[in-house]
């Protein structure tokens, strides 16, 4: 065994914890710690508070009970106090510390008495220490008081000393989390003196118990406990100091403790014992429950106790695992090997020795299998003597099953009475055994056992001489009875086992299947809403629960996703709990925070990032550790899937930004070239005209002026395209769709380009009877003009152009066909991208925006544009536009 005095190796969590503590954002917690009520903790706290106030700190009293003591009341005077929050529980008016008021007030230092206090139902947290933690998280410093008997891990010890079990406890982690602990000490004699003078407050109902509690022996023991706990803390402070200051000695591999928790009331005691051992060794510890087939059939009460034990372990700082295995020992040994466990803590078996011998003993198997691992065996106590409940009544075979068994035996006996004259007695025994097997398979172990007993009785009564009495004449029949009964019982036990295993396997199978089908479906989804609805449906089906998924919407608000059970958070209070869960951790029913809520709210966390909240409302009965774990697993699957989508979205956004950047640079290079070239021509031509004066020949004069005009027109087109593109892309452009015959924009575009068509043959074929199309006439004209300009640019002058308009289902298809060189294959995919110029004659100019505008316009109309080869040579551009429904009719008229 390694020495436990050596320092534990600092793990990353410990270093992070130091970092978190050094972070000024978190509040500091100071505990005034005492061995018993009446030692003067509140007094000491108030004195310290007054000193702090004198130093100029904003000290506010959150909650302090003076219990009518004058010294305390005197110290309270002059300290501002938060009003208590009135609460009503079952008609009784209560007052509680007002957490929200404190958070709003944000004092420099808040005084809160009695850290172990249990809040009244209806408060946000069930325990006051949780209020304090929220305050600390909000950066508020807190002073508080605590007695040693309220420490969770010492709860049993205190109970053993004082014979009083304290119900209000706090996890040791809370005590350890305190930045400072001041021990308030009063020798037992002095305390007893104060008690006699009536200067110790005791609640009415505690008066009688007080007599037993305030015995000198108790007080001495409690004081010793408190001092020891204090010493432990000082020790860990020294350790913390050394850790922070990097004072390295040899770091041994840390001790790791494993405690095996089973169902039943002994679990909590076992967990507390393990926590004490782990704390004293400064070891990490794991609490594990092994789901064996037998456990799968444990009663609801036992399962609840198990869940309670595991939660306790978690609150005491253990890592909690649930394993599934055939036998407990195998599972423990395997886990111990995997996790380098150095000690295993188990409960002492309560079975009698002979049963131990008959069955496989956990302890024996453990000791055999655990080479180099210390085994701690914890004894049971009074609590443990309570017999674990048998299978719950709901799982008992119904009375009908027993009646069926009686009928079965009666029927067999009747059949046997017919056979009796012809067959051997042994054959009759065989028949009864078949009956027992039937009962075992069909009705379970109880009825089977009864069938066995009844069968023996019936066999004896009817067929063993002397007949019709239970008396037996021949001694050999006693053996027959014994064998018959033994076989019957064995069969019923075996059958019961098989049934259990089948049941356990079924439960496991269901979980695996649920997990598998969820992850498989989630893997195919690409949108967070569909993931949320899919997950809600799966989790709901698997757990038989109502499920909602809440995600942060565009306005930054956590809202239920449509398609999941949004009704769950229809109540603003419930939504408030969900939001609290989003920011702080699990909340709502079956959790430590706001357990009064109707549903459980679990934050969906992946890669350290909270993405949303899973809200689940389960039936009261459907809760145990296994389903809790299943829920957690399903939740983390969902979180992972959502996280994946978020990452993908972010990657896409980053890519978009990169593409925009790329576009901007190509725009700059393009525009600077295309703007400068015509400007150079214009400047050159204009200066030549000016300087040449009347001496220039007439044709030169004309040529120069024409060059200026041409270049200016090109500039105008370029600027126009740039403006169009930016308007289309900025999203400011609102489509003005009107019902228009498709010929109109075609005619308008051809009309505007009349001068440029330069006598080219243009054929327009519009299918007769085309319906009106909902389009923005101006944009459509622009599209067609750009297409025509593009065609004229890339095809030899004089080659014909054809425009056709046809109907294709609910769309109108416009085609522009030419007889030019066609579009190079490799250019096709990018031809409609911005700043792309595909091949074309040398010296070709233009920014490469024309076709990009065409695509933008087509897409703005909900249509598309493609380009391809025209059969027989040339290119074809095809614009598909949705008709956009049915145009309102135009009343017909007679001609004049």
């Amino acid at each position: 065994m390694r020495s436990t005095d050596e320092l534990a190796r600092p793990n990353p969590e410990a270093l992070l914890a130091v970092a978190a503590r050094a972070d000024g954002a978190r509040g500091q917690l100071k505990i005034f710690f005492g061995a018993a009520p009446g030692v003067g903790k509140t007094f000491a706290m108030l004195e310290a508070a007054r000193r702090a106030q004198a130093e100029g700190l904003d000290v506010v009293v959150g909650v302090i009970e003076t219990h009518g003591r004058e010294e305390t009341a005197a110290l309270l005077a002059g300290l501002p106090a938060l009003p208590l929050r009135p609460l009503s529980h079952r008609g009784i008016a209560l007052q509680e510390f007002d957490l929200d008021a404190a958070l709003k007030r944000r004092p420099g230092l808040l005084l809160i008495d009695e850290l172990a206090h249990t809040n009244a139902p209806g408060s946000r947290h069930p325990k006051r220490w949780q209020d304090v933690f929220e305050l600390l998280a909000a950066g508020i410093h807190v002073h508080t008081t605590l007695n040693v008997q309220h420490l969770e891990s010492l709860n049993d010890v205190v109970a053993q000393i004082t014979w009083i079990r304290v119900r209000e406890t706090i996890p040791d982690a809370v005590f350890d989390r305190a930045d400072d602990v001041e021990f308030v000490d009063l020798p037992p004699d002095a305390l007893l003196e104060r008690l006699r003078e009536g200067r110790v407050y005791l609640p009415e109902q505690a008066r009688q118990a007080a007599h037993a509690f305030f015995r000198k022996g108790n007080l001495l023991a409690l004081r010793e406990l408190a001092l020891r706990r204090m010493a432990q803390r000082v020790d860990s402070d020294v350790q913390a100091y050394r850790r922070e200051h990097g004072i390295a000695t040899i770091w041994p591999a840390g001790e790791r403790l494993l405690v095996c928790v089973g169902p039943g009331p002994r679990g909590t005691r076992l967990v507390r014992a393990a926590a004490r051992i782990a704390t004293s060794m400064r070891a990490e510890w794991i609490a594990v429950n092994v789901e064996t087939p037998a456990l799968a059939l444990a009663g609801a009460a036992e399962r609840d106790q198990l869940a309670g034990s595991l939660r306790l372990a978690e609150s005491l700082g253990a890592e909690v695992l649930v394993l599934v295995d055939e036998t407990v020992a195998d599972a423990l040994i395997r886990l111990a090997g995997e996790r380098n466990v150095t000690r295993i803590v188990v409960g002492k078996p309560t079975r009698t020795r002979w049963r131990d011998r008959l069955r496989r003993s956990l302890l024996r198997d453990l000791v055999r299998g655990s080479d180099g691992i210390d085994i701690h065996v914890i004894t049971g106590d009074r609590e443990a003597m309570a017999k674990p409940s048998r299978r719950p009544s709901s799982e008992h075979s119904p009375v009908a099953h027993y009646l069926w068994c009686v009928a079965l035996v009666a029927a067999l006996t009747a059949v046997d009475s017919l056979l009796f004259p012809y067959v051997d007695l042994t054959d009759l025994v065989m028949q009864y055994i078949v009956g027992i097997m039937l009962a075992a398979v069909r009705f379970g172990p109880g009825p089977a056992t009864m069938t066995a007993v009844l069968s023996v009785a019936a066999f004896d009564f009817f067929y063993v001489p002397p007949y019709y009495t239970f008396a037996v004449s021949d001694g050999k029949y006693v053996l027959t009875f014994a064998v018959m009964l033994a076989v019957g019982l064995l069969i019923s036990t075996l059958t019961a086992r098989i049934r259990m295993q089948v049941e356990a396997a079924r439960v496991r199978e269901r979980r695996t299947a649920a997990l598998y089908s969820l992850s498989r479906e989630l893997a195919q989804l690409r949108h967070k809403v569909s993931i949320a609805t899919c997950a809600a449906r799966h989790i709901g089906e698997t757990l038989g629960a109502r499920v909602a998924v809440l995600l942060v919407d565009e306005r930054g608000q956590l809202m239920p996703v449509e398609g999941t059970d949004a009704q769950l958070v229809a109540d603003p209070r419930e939504l408030g709990v969900a939001r609290w869960a989003f920011e702080h951790g699990p909340a709502g029913r079956d959790t430590e925070t706001l357990p009064g809520a109707a549903a459980t709210h679990l934050p969906l966390v992946a890669a350290g990032r909270t993405i949303g909240v899973l809200t689940v409302e389960r039936g009261r009965r459907s809760r145990d550790t296994a389903t809790d774990q299943l829920l957690e697993t399903l939740g983390s699957q969902t979180a992972l899937a959502l996280h994946r989508v978020l990452l993908a979205q972010e990657a896409q956004a980053a890519e978009l930004r990169a593409r925009a950047e790329e576009l901007r640079s190509s725009l700059l290079s393009s525009v600077s070239h295309d703007l400068r070239t015509p400007l150079a021509t214009i400047t050159g031509a204009a200066t030549t005209l000016l300087e040449g004066g009347p001496g220039l020949p007439r044709e030169v004069h004309h040529d120069l002026a024409d060059a200026i005009r041409e270049e200016a027109e090109r500039l105008a087109r370029l600027v126009g395209n740039l403006l169009d593109m930016s308007r289309l892309e900025s999203g400011e452009l609102v489509l003005k769709r009107e019902w228009t015959p498709i010929e109109e924009p075609i005619g308008a575009a051809l009309d505007r380009l009349e001068g440029h068509l330069a006598g080219r043959e243009v054929d327009v074929h519009v299918e007769p009877g085309l319906p009106l199309v909902a389009l923005d006439a101006l944009l459509m004209e622009q599209l067609l003009m750009n297409l025509l300009e593009n065609t004229m640019k890339y095809t030899p002058p004089g080659t014909p152009i054809t425009i056709t308009a046809t109907r294709d289902g609910e769309s109108i298809v416009l085609e522009l066909l030419d007889r030019g060189p066609g579009i190079p294959e490799e250019a096709l995919p990018r031809i409609f991208d911005k700043f792309v110029r595909a091949g074309g004659p040398p010296g070709m100019q233009g920014v490469g925006l024309g076709l990009a505008i065409c695509r933008a316009v087509a897409e703005a109309h909900g249509g598309s544009i493609t380009a391809g080869k025209r059969p027989g040579g040339g290119a074809v551009f095809r614009v598909t536009l949705p008709i956009g429904g049915e145009a309102p009719s135009v009343p017909a008229e007679e001609s004049e």
Binding site: W739, P741, E744, A748, L750, D751, E754, V890, E896
Partner: protein, 234 residues
């Protein structure tokens, strides 16, 4: 340049544009007065009583549509608005407020002079339709007095709305007529359905144009309205 040559009021804040327009208009025997702001424009329209107003819509001290409205309050002088492409709303606004025609920047001198000629001709003829006149374009002959339409030798039968539409365009020949004005004229005040207009225009083209998909006379000004040309497109 005589005192009888037409007077043009040029309301334009860009000195470069005025620098190009002024000599060009003078060379065509027009007289020119210039205003740089909307307010100055309205004042000069009052004091000089011009024959045509050339009005830029993007003025520093106000909106050209408002200037149009103010001038129209007391004068029927033809107003031609000048605007940039992509500002169809402004153009339609000015036309509906009473402007006669528009030009899109940048424009060539030929285009400007053609619009000026149309405007002056309309002003000379007066706003009223000539009841007994016969209007012809291409092979189409419209007898406004007898309410008949012939294409070549054959009579073309038009529905009442088609005829009204055609007459409205003839009355404004050479000028753009906005959708609203046409709806108002043909279907009466309050008519909203732009697609009626498009359908009837299509029918009119079917009956009167050689190639209805490439009309030579009945032109579309996309986003603004329609225009009956006084010279064919090809």
């Amino acid at each position: 340049m005589s005192d009888h040559s037409p007077l043009i009021l040029l309301v334009e804040d860009e000195p470069q544009l005025r620098r190009f327009l002024r000599p060009m208009l003078r060379a065509q025997n027009y007289r020119v007065v210039e205003a740089e702001t909307a307010r100055e424009g309205v004042a000069l329209a009052h004091s000089h009583n011009p024959d045509v107003v050339l009005l830029d819509l993007g003025l520093p001290d106000g909106d050209g549509v408002e200037v149009t409205r103010q001038i129209r309050a007391w004068s029927a002088v033809p107003i031609i608005v000048i605007s940039a492409r992509g500002k169809e709303q402004d153009k339609v606004g000015a036309l509906d407020a009473g402007a006669d025609d528009y030009l899109i920047k940048p424009f060539g001198s030929a285009e400007l002079l053609a619009r000026l000629r149309v405007a002056l001709r309309h002003a000379a003829r007066g706003a009223l339709p000539t009841a007994d006149a016969v209007h012809s374009f291409g092979d189409v002959r419209v007898d406004l007095g007898r309410r008949t339409v012939h294409r070549g030798d054959a009579e073309v039968h038009l529905t009442p709305h088609e005829y009204k539409l055609l007459v409205t365009l003839i009355r404004n020949v050479g000028k753009v007529v906005t959708h609203r004005q046409l709806l108002h004229e043909v279907w009466g005040p309050g008519a909203q359905e732009n697609h009626y207009l498009r359908v009837y225009m299509g029918q009119l083209r079917q009956k009167l144009e050689e190639d209805p998909a490439r009309p030579r006379w009945l032109a579309t000004d996309a986003g603004v309205g329609y225009r009956l040309r006084d010279e064919p497109a090809r």
